[in-house]
């Protein structure tokens, strides 16, 4: 559905995108995972024909993003990174306006947005600027969907949104996918990667890996352990001072570690006991997306 071949983009001296390649399939939910400043927004703008790439070519549904920009603009739905609706117009007026812009009506494609819009219905007379974060995001999605786009581009739809609304949002995306809409979504939250069919990990304008979430975690090269004790603050310090470890990163109340050489749990256990830790647990752990991302980041550096 989306084909990207060797896209590069620079702003002055800053290289925002560096030789990006990837393809998505029809009906696929594809995620671009990476922190702010990784180049996600530039890539979205190029794919939605709003920005010209310096190098490379890209197409959406077979239409070239540079030459056929008019065609692209009529078949895509786009939700930019920041809240981009009219704050002084009501929920209903916003939706009506965007329906008209795409020469359709709310009624025509109501089935698509029904589940989402029903949650907004009680507030439909309220100005969009006065909605809560989660509600704004639902309205923005409704507006991007109202013309039944073939491809949906969602740039960081869950940034700054609380965990509950985020979860609901991903449930909505899963439903849209069932209706056959191809979706490209970006997020800085690594835990959301698992909701996508395939993901690209992006950092400093480069794609570090593309695979299914499972494939990516499977490719984690080292043996990973999760360590915990009663005093996590000291545990971090002590593990960082322990020379045998390659990495030690906090994950909630645990610390994920990898060894430079062959893992030696017993020695580590003794070291931690000597350092005064109690209730020490060192157990093998399956790598998550965030583990993989940090590993790839280190390789890149």
């Amino acid at each position: 559905m989306i084909e990207v071949e060797g896209i590069s983009k620079t702003y002055g001296k800053v290289l925002a995108l560096d030789d990006i390649h990837f393809n998505t399939k029809k009906g696929e939910l594809f995620g671009l995972i990476g922190p702010d400043g990784a180049g996600k927004t530039s890539l979205f703008r190029i794919l939605t024909s709003l920005l010209l790439p310096d190098k490379g070519r890209a197409s959406v549904a077979g239409f070239d993003v540079v030459k056929d920009y008019k065609k692209i603009r009529s078949i895509i739905g786009y939700m930019p990174g920041r809240f981009s609706l009219y704050p002084d117009l009501s929920v209903e007026e916003n939706l009506q306006f965007f329906a008209k812009v795409f020469k359709t009506s709310i009624e025509e494609n109501y089935h698509l947005i029904k589940d989402i819009y029903q949650m907004l219905e009680p507030f439909k007379k309220r100005p969009a600027g006065k909605l809560s974060g989660g509600m704004k995001q639902k309205l923005a999605l409704s507006c991007a969907l109202i013309h039944k786009p073939e491809v949906l581009f969602l740039d960081e739809p869950t940034t700054g949104v609380d965990a509950v609304s985020r979860k609901e949002f991903w449930e909505m995306l899963a439903k849209l996918k069932e209706q056959g809409i191809s979706i490209l979504v970006s997020t800085p939250y690594m835990d959301e990667a698992a909701m996508c069919e395939r993901i690209a990990l992006i950092q400093n304008g480069r794609i570090m890996d593309i695979n299914t979430p499972f494939g990516i975690t499977q490719a984690f090269p080292d043996e990973l352990f999760s360590v915990s004790s009663d005093n996590i603050i000291h545990l971090v310090k002590d593990l960082r001072e322990y020379q045998e470890l390659k990495t030690a990163y906090t994950f909630g109340s645990n610390i994920h570690i990898t060894f430079k050489n062959l893992p030696d749990i017993t020695t580590l256990q003794t070291y931690l006991e000597k350092s005064g830790h109690s209730n020490i647990k060192i157990i093998p752990e399956n790598a998550g997306i965030e583990d993989c991302f940090m590993n790839l980041m280190q390789n890149q550096a």
Partner: protein
């Protein structure tokens, strides 16, 4: 925590906007040097409460003291004794790192000598010594946030309020940011932090969870997980906030 000094004491904090109750009888205490997680869904009333605690807005009712000062009458003193940093509030992009440090030090009335010493220490800690004259604009987001935090505690406030400080920051830098938080707390600075990353909630000594203007849970992360028999804070949050 009774044996420790109390940094924030809030008794029945109420804030109403017309008929709408944004904060409904919030009662909690935060000890000096504690890392306190202030969680809640969007629109639950977190920002309103933080504004009151920072002395920027006045509560409708309630007895609230921050750093020992009353929020109704001594808000100017409160402002001198706290640091504040949010995802949006940041540094002056067109000023250099050094100029930002000097400017904020000046705002809080630090002497030139103190500013110089502490700024050097910050640059050294963050490994930015070579880039002291670089414009803040040119820094990656993660670095900006770490610098913004260091600036917020440059005047050694008793309490620092952090409003979603790590939003959009990459996973490694995010963890480095929390190292800074721990160091500040070890120096006795109280850290009052909001976040949407639920793994970060686990790093707090205690967390409160707000739903519709009320605090529905307040305890250590481990205790909360036990109470609600959940494996992670994320589950606890989803259970309570949904």
């Amino acid at each position: 925590m009774n044996d420790k000094q109390i940094a924030i004491k809030s008794e029945n904090l109420v804030k109403k906007f017309g008929n709408f109750v944004a904060n409904d009888h919030l009662t909690f205490e935060v000890a000096q040097g504690e890392i306190f997680g202030f969680l809640g869904a969007n629109g639950a009333g977190k920002t309103t409460a933080i504004k009151i605690l920072c002395g920027i807005s006045k509560p409708t009712s309630g007895n609230i003291r921050v750093a020992g000062f009353d929020v109704y009458t001594e808000n100017e003193k409160i402002k001198k004794n706290i640091g504040y940093m949010s995802q949006r509030f940041s540094l002056y992009e067109e000023l250099s790192i050094w100029e930002n440090l000097r400017f904020y030090g000046g705002i809080y009335g630090l002497s030139a000598k103190t500013i110089r010493e502490r700024s050097e220490a910050v640059l050294k800690r963050l490994g930015l010594e070579d880039q002291r004259n670089a414009h803040v604009r040119s820094l990656p987001l993660g670095w900006k946030q770490k610098l913004a935090f260091s600036v917020a505690i440059l005047h050694r406030p008793g309490i620092v309020f952090l409003d979603e400080p790590t939003g959009g920051v990459d996973p490694i830098t995010r963890r480095q940011f929390w190292d800074l938080i721990y160091e500040a707390a070890a120096d006795g600075i109280t850290v009052f932090v909001t976040t949407h990353y639920m793994d970060e909630a686990e790093y707090c000594q205690r967390v409160s969870i707000m739903v519709d203007g009320r605090i529905v849970a307040l305890d250590k992360p481990t205790a909360l997980k036990n109470t609600y028999s959940c494996k992670s804070m994320e589950e606890v949050f989803l259970k309570l906030a949904r």
